[in-house]
């Protein structure tokens, strides 16, 4: 680019190659970020759409739909908060559990406890596991231990180290609640737990409606980015 003095004479040529390439890189990066943002936004919209459609299918009244949809949306937002607040792949399992059970007080209070080694989750595990914990907490609050004044939920977990990769074994155990009646139909919650565990977290689970308290065992691989401290 020619640089001219006030008279219009070219006094020097500015080397602007680096300048342009830096700008182009910045533009490329912006385009990349914009594309990634759109991708995530549309995935999130599709997730909300799915939650709305399935909550609607199950709802028996408009008020019921509103309350259930609101609570699921809050759970999704809570998981997103954790993802944004924590550095990538640095979400603690204990924090995710605390969010799901936050309507029932502090950890190790009267209503619930959480115990296990420090485990951080892979970014991809946070949303499905957050939704699973929310559905378990919702069920406990509606029909299970947390629906009765003295009922409790104990969440405990351990990590099993193996050559094929570490696995997380998590137990959700309810006690001191009402006598448990197994559900008569498979609702959104149990379907979500089944699909998230097997389809997205690539693990196994069992759900048992013992008379003295419901219990859910979840066994999932901890991916490379997740780790144990």
């Amino acid at each position: 680019v020619p640089v001219r003095n006030y008279g219009g004479d070219v006094v020097s040529l500015a080397a602007s190659v680096r300048d342009i390439s830096a700008r182009r890189q910045a533009t490329d990066r912006q385009a990349l970020i914009a594309n990634e943002l759109t991708h995530r936004l549309k995935n999130t919209l599709a997730t909300v759409q799915s939650i709305a459609a399935q909550t609607l299918r199950q709802a028996t009244s408009l008020d019921g739909f509103g309350a259930a949809f609101d609570s699921r949306l809050q759970a999704l937002a809570g998981s997103h908060d954790l993802l944004i607040r924590a550095a990538a792949s640095d979400v603690a399992l204990a924090d995710l559990i605390a969010i799901a059970l936050s309507p029932y007080g502090e950890p190790d209070g009267d209503r619930w406890s959480a115990s296990g080694a420090g485990v951080t989750l892979n970014v991809g595990q946070v949303l499905p596991l957050g939704m699973i914990l929310h559905e378990l907490a919702t069920n406990a609050g509606k029909y299970g231990a947390l629906s009765a004044p003295h009922g409790r939920v104990g969440v405990s977990w351990k990590v099993q180290f193996a050559e094929a990769g570490s696995r997380l074994h998590l137990i959700w155990a309810e006690s001191d609640g009402p006598i448990v009646q197994p559900p008569t139909r498979k609702g959104f919650g149990s379907r979500l737990i089944a699909d998230c565990v097997t389809g997205e977290l690539h693990g196994d689970f069992t759900m048992a409606f013992n008379a003295l308290g419901a219990r859910c065992d979840i066994d999932i691989p901890l991916l490379a980015a997740g780790n144990v401290s």
């Binding site: 914009a34 594309n35 759109t38 991708h39 995530r40 936004l41 549309k42 995935n43 919209l45 599709a46 997730t47 909300v48 759409q49 799915s50 939650i51 459609a53 399935q54 299918r57 991809g124 499905p128 939704m131 379907r191 979500l192 699909d195 998230c196 097997t198 389809g199 997205e200 690539h202």
Partner: protein
């Protein structure tokens, strides 16, 4: 899309068998619900390997493929389906609607999902399958490893 496709779906005793490859469980559930309402039988998988195994061991009339499966390309699935002449469509949240190389002629559905687009594409699957094959439910079962 055509009345032939829709009539075919309605008249068949069991609806088309559709494979859904999607790593987000909530989205897979929604796809499944939409397809079941359209009369389909649905098999969902969240991993490339599981998808390939399904295609090798079960008959399908069509498939819906998320373009990005946990950072892996959907390409191996698209190629396996193409080699068996099973029609398929892509589902993507990407702004540029980018699909794997060489498969640009397949339908692309964007997220959030449109039920009417699913209906159109399923009807097109039926037309394609009728034009080229027997429907999946009249095929003898494939044996493992074929």
């Amino acid at each position: 899309m055509t009345s032939l496709g829709i009539d075919t779906l309605v008249n068949r005793q069991r609806g088309p068998r559709i494979l859904v490859v999607e790593d987000n469980a909530l989205l897979a559930m929604h796809c499944e619900d939409i397809l079941i309402q359209l009369g389909c039988t649905v098999v969902k998988v969240g991993r490339i390997q599981a998808g390939l195994l399904s295609i090798d061991t079960q008959p399908f009339d069509g498939a819906f493929l998320d373009v990005d499966i946990s950072g892996e390309s959907i390409l191996p699935i698209a190629e396996r389906l193409a080699s068996r002449a099973i029609p398929f469509a892509f589902v993507t949240g990407s702004a540029d609607r980018h699909v794997p190389m060489g498969h640009g002629d397949h339908p692309v559905l964007s997220k959030p999902l449109s039920e009417s687009r699913f209906a159109e594409v399923v009807a097109d699957f039926a037309v394609t399958m009728l034009a080229h094959h027997q429907p999946a439910d009249s095929l003898p079962p494939l044996t493992y490893g074929n």
